[in-house]
């Protein structure tokens, strides 16, 4: 200990000496443990015969799987678009000063957020048992148009109803939070310029709220991608159900589930990238820079910038 406490005269010039960076033993121990787990997992993937990578490769681009993939994608996007449109209306109703609008919006959100999407899908599919015919007409008067519910409710329409109504409840809450995050000064400034409520909402409030809700909407889109796999209960051949149809013929259950998993992961990755791209575009005036977006996908900043050699 004594010799470490050398007097300043014996030391080299402090300005000419580079300090030794802070050591993080916990990084090394934790990192080594994790790398061991990763290696064990990779070994499982490579050596386990039951995975049958050959079968996975054979079915990865099979027309049946790709058709299912397409259905999964358009279900995701249609359900998100309907969900967001209905959700925006619900959010505006929720913030309205009309108590009937408020309560109706609250009840809708309460119901569709509370009922599991799987229950809804089955329920919508069996709607004909509750309401045999759907008709549009004058209340208590004659019908202008009517149809058999069984003809209207197909697996696709039941799936879209269940998924988009669930999404509408979540979207409504996100958009409401986004709108409420806008400073009251914005609406006051618009008011003093003579803008009407509708103009203020469309031109000033919603564009700003949208920027705030882009990350949660991106998150919900990825959730929706996965929720669409529920439609396999309606025998709608989405990605999962296409894989299930194949393995029910060939009994290659695990390889086909791996095929589905690979595609879900690829889609989720692409959606994550799109979300980061949109977020970047909305929040920055700088031109699109791939080298900035790619790191932002995996890294986040919390403990300062953490440059090498700095203790933060």
């Amino acid at each position: 200990m004594e010799d470490e406490k050398s007097t300043p005269q014996e030391c080299p010039d402090i300005h000419a000496t580079r300090p030794v960076p802070v050591m993080h033993p916990s990084w090394w121990i934790g990192g080594a443990a994790l790398i061991l787990f990763v290696l064990a997992f990779i070994r499982l993937l490579v050596t386990n015969e039951n995975l049958q990578w050959g079968v996975v490769a054979a079915y990865l681009f099979s027309p049946e799987i790709l058709a299912g993939l397409g259905r999964t994608l358009y279900l995701t996007f249609l359900a998100m678009i309907f969900g967001l449109v209905i959700g925006t209306v619900l959010a505006i109703m929720r913030l309205s000063r009309n108590p009937v609008f408020q309560v109706a919006s609250w009840a809708w959100i309460w119901f569709f957020r509370g009922v599991p999407p799987l229950v809804q899908l089955v329920f919508w599919y069996n709607l004909a048992l509750l309401i045999p015919t759907v008709s549009v007409g004058i209340p208590f008067g004659s019908d202008l148009w009517s149809a058999d519910t069984n003809r209207l409710i197909t697996p696709l329409s039941a799936a879209l109803l269940g998924l988009s109504l669930t999404e509408s409840a979540y979207a409504a809450e996100m958009i409401r939070a986004g709108i409420q995050a806008i400073n009251i000064g914005q609406t006051e400034a618009a008011a003093t310029l003579g803008m009407t409520r509708g103009q203020t909402l469309r031109r000033i409030v919603l564009p700003q709220a949208l920027r705030i809700v882009i990350p949660p909407i991106g998150n919900d889109t990825i959730s929706m991608l996965k929720f669409t796999s529920l439609v396999s209960v309606l025998a709608l051949p989405d990605l999962l159900y296409s894989a299930q149809m194949i393995y029910s013929r060939t009994y290659q259950t695990i390889p086909l589930l791996i095929v589905a998993t690979i595609w879900y992961l690829i889609l989720a990755t692409v959606l994550t990238f799109i979300e980061h791209y949109v977020e970047h575009r909305l929040n920055s005036d700088r031109p699109f820079d791939l080298s900035k977006i790619l790191p932002s996908l995996v890294r986040s900043r919390f403990w300062g910038t953490g440059r090498r050699g700095m203790s933060v």
């Binding site: 006051e188 003093t192 310029l193 803008m195 103009q199």
Partner: protein, 256 residues
């Protein structure tokens, strides 16, 4: 100009927040071309008074008349109705307002902030709106900042854009709510310069401010408020150098 009604007239205006009476039967007149400065300690009701003029706050009683028309109220036969927000919007076009916190639209550039209301409210052609906005930007000395977003501008620059944005609707009257209170001492001057220039051009202005030198030099009328009432009003030089009321004297002693 006798016999002509004042541009703005406030009669017996009162406003309470809960049990706290913020404004107590205020009477006020603003003639066309006048600059009126309202000063007073914080909590004296001066900002609330300003916000009642354009109905951002709805007064409990009393009436604001703009060019003889009651603000926010409408006769139909012998019945008096409250205006809807969108009816009020038409009246508000005549009264611009500049806020302490600027409140520029952050998703729009300086130029877009200025042309927004002319485009959307007046349905002006884009070319004309941009041309007029560029004239306004030149007036506030920010021609080179037309395509900057608010976050890229300093506080003083943002406030000057906010003034230009209000002017774009060609209001009869501009209301300023402590326009320099959120600024660095060094940028206060550039905003006050623009306001002086507007005053010289004959713009009618009602300014809530703590800038006594601005009030002294520019205002035609100075109003000292305290406790929700107008304690003293008159020519600024007289009020500032020979205040008659004890509360005015105490306030001026503290801030001058």
């Amino acid at each position: 100009m006798s016999g002509v009604m004042p541009l703005l007239k406030v009669e017996r205006l009162s406003k309470s927040f809960g049990s706290h009476q913020v404004l107590n039967s205020i009477d006020l007149k603003v003639e066309l071309g006048d600059v009126t400065c309202i000063v007073g300690p914080s909590g004296s009701g001066k900002s609330t008074l300003l916000r009642c003029l354009n109905y951002l706050e709805v007064p409990d009683s009393g009436v604001v008349f703009l060019e003889g028309e009651p603000v926010g109220l409408r006769w139909r036969g012998k019945k008096l109705f409250r205006m809807s927000f969108n009816e009020l919007a038409v009246q508000r076009q005549k009264m611009g307002m500049v806020f302490q916190g600027f409140h520029l639209f952050p998703h729009k550039t300086a130029l877009e902030n200025i042309i927004e209301a002319p485009l959307v409210v007046k349905r002006m052609a884009r070319m004309q709106a941009v041309a007029e906005a560029m004239v306004l930007l030149e007036k506030v000395g920010l021609t080179d900042r037309a395509h900057y977003y608010p976050r890229q501008l300093s506080g003083g620059q943002q406030q000057r854009v906010a003034i230009a944005r209000s002017l774009a609707m060609q209001p009869k009257l501009l209301l300023f709510d402590e326009p320099t209170s959120a600024l660095d001492p060094e940028t206060v001057g550039e905003v006050l310069t623009v306001m002086r220039q507007l005053a010289e051009e004959g713009m009618t202005m009602v300014v809530v401010t703590h800038e006594m030198s601005f009030a002294r030099d520019v205002a035609d009328h100075l109003i000292f408020m305290d406790g929700g009432v107008i304690v003293e009003a008159g020519e600024p030089k007289v009020v500032l150098s020979h205040p008659t009321h004890a509360r005015t004297k105490a306030f001026l002693a503290r801030i001058l």
